[in-house]
Symmetry: C2
Subunit: 309 residues, 2 copies
């Protein structure tokens, strides 16, 4: 079933121990959409400037991504530049030029408004809320956030996520949002804020998913995929989101009834990990130029063999 | 099938954010043996001093542990004291008094020498090797080590582990021993040293197990169990070893043929995680006073539900 993804579309300059690239397609919306496109039809909402290359539009449309909601306005595209530490566990931002993204005010094309699945990438919580309000009868909505919104826009964030089916967050953000160090307690507190499900990403260590049932909080866990080499981790978390949400949409899953289907939730988490792992294999989103669904499913099966007992 | 465990038996003084205890039964052999006793008959080899309490011998024998190889000699029992950081991810050693453990020269009782399973706790590699040489026709042998032996006794360690069916090691030690940062590469290098299997423990993030097949290196992964509260992590790694080895022994598994049974290897890893998690619930080995096999199996099943897809 169709999935709408809202978020940043950008150009990045990246430097990892394996090399550097001065200008490559980036942004959370871009990564999530490319990843989700392996599972389900995707429509994106974003904004770019006059410098946005036609070849990058082609990269998206060649994956069947609907770009009607990709607005092009006067000015330059969001630009980010960062450098990774030797072990790639830390990165330092060198440049953030918001450019046209600074006044991003997402408006959904009429054709998007009745689509059943919505993923809200990491943008200002009030904008995330406004996007959801433009949708009619959305079946499943979830999103991402970051430390800046947690600390400086906490009330708006809580007002926004309380209506979500899932919140996707990393472990340090989960601790920050909940004020709890233990991840099980952090998840319980976040579920009390309203989202039906919380997925806590733990980088190379995989992810946890929590939800509430009549019998208490339940959880599933997936280890991270073991890559031979992490070339560039940029976008891995966004690709996780795309794989997770894309799989749910492809199966028509409604989290309101997910209690009966923990295996499906875990499969969605595993597909998230699989897509995040492919993303790390080359600079930026380059891996998606050649990646096939058969390769995705082969890695999913490798995961299954490595975790089934 | 019977399992022989060799290693330290000690008294510990512990301080965690939840409280402190001045003198409690400890030592790697103690924790591993208590943990393994839930799965298979266990015989221990260790040394204690005149101060070793009869009630602590009773703690072991009440779990059916054969203490014929627990030597009592003049002097005091090994004593260790440590304090944990607020998040319990770090601990500082305050006191290490080797006492009678300084001259530990493990001698196996005649009745131990034909037993089929042997676990060599973290002691000097040459002693580990000498113990194995006292065994006749051992079916499966594995062991633990630590940074001190890796750095200062590297040649002896390599000479010892090359004959093992498995090496159990944590992630930082695996990187130190192999000189490789990537855990998949680290595992490949360690397998080249000779052990048939390597298990890399990742603390709260679970564990990975690697082995070589004709088709290349295979791996299985298990996430860590999510505890409501970590009260005292002392001994968790040793309890992991006991659960892992105890399960293998209970099933009569021979790692020489394990290629056909990755699910059994993963079950052993999961039982290791389960036993490590129980260990963290109270000070020292106190949890084993009340723990039942039914509770162990219930937690194993919770793990299965949380990871099966």
């Amino acid at each position: 079933m169709s999935l709408v993804i809202v978020g940043s579309v950008a150009y990045d300059a990246l430097q990892t121990p394996h090399g550097k690239v001065d200008r490559i397609l980036g942004g959370a919306c871009t990564y999530s959409a490319l990843s989700a496109s392996y599972f389900t039809p995707v429509s994106i909402v974003g904004v770019v400037g006059e410098d946005f290359a036609e070849s990058d539009v082609d990269m998206l449309t060649s994956h069947g991504i609907d770009v009607e909601g990709l607005e092009r306005v006067p000015g330059k595209t969001f630009f980010w530049s960062g450098v990774y530490s030797d072990d790639m566990n830390d990165r330092t931002t060198l440049v953030t030029e918001l450019n046209v993204f600074a006044s991003f005010d997402p408006k959904l094309p009429a054709s998007y408004r009745t689509k059943p699945y919505l993923f809200l990438g990491n943008i200002q919580p009030t904008l995330q809320k406004a996007v959801k309000e433009q949708m009619n009868g959305v079946k499943l909505v979830g999103g991402d956030t970051m430390n800046y919104w947690i600390v400086d826009h906490r009330d708006a964030l809580l007002e926004t996520i309380k209506e979500w089916d899932f919140l996707l967050i990393n472990d340090s953000e989960a601790r920050q949002l909940s004020g709890k160090a233990n991840l099980k307690h952090a998840a319980a507190t976040i579920l009390d804020f309203g989202p039906r499900t919380v997925i806590i990403k733990r980088g190379e260590y995989g992810a946890l998913l929590f939800w509430r049932t009549n019998g208490g909080i339940r959880w599933v866990a997936a280890p991270g995929y073991l890559l031979d080499e992490v070339f560039d981790p940029t976008g891995a978390g966004d690709c996780f989101a795309g794989g997770f949400m894309g799989y749910l949409a492809s199966r028509g899953i409604d989290l309101a009834t997910a209690e009966a289907e923990p295996k499906e939730l875990l499969r969605a988490v595993i597909y998230g990990s699989v897509m995040g792992s492919f993303c790390c294999e080359t600079f930026g989103p380059e891996r998606f130029r050649t990646l096939t669904r058969a390769q995705v499913d082969a890695r999913f099966q490798e995961f299954q063999a490595a975790t089934a007992f």
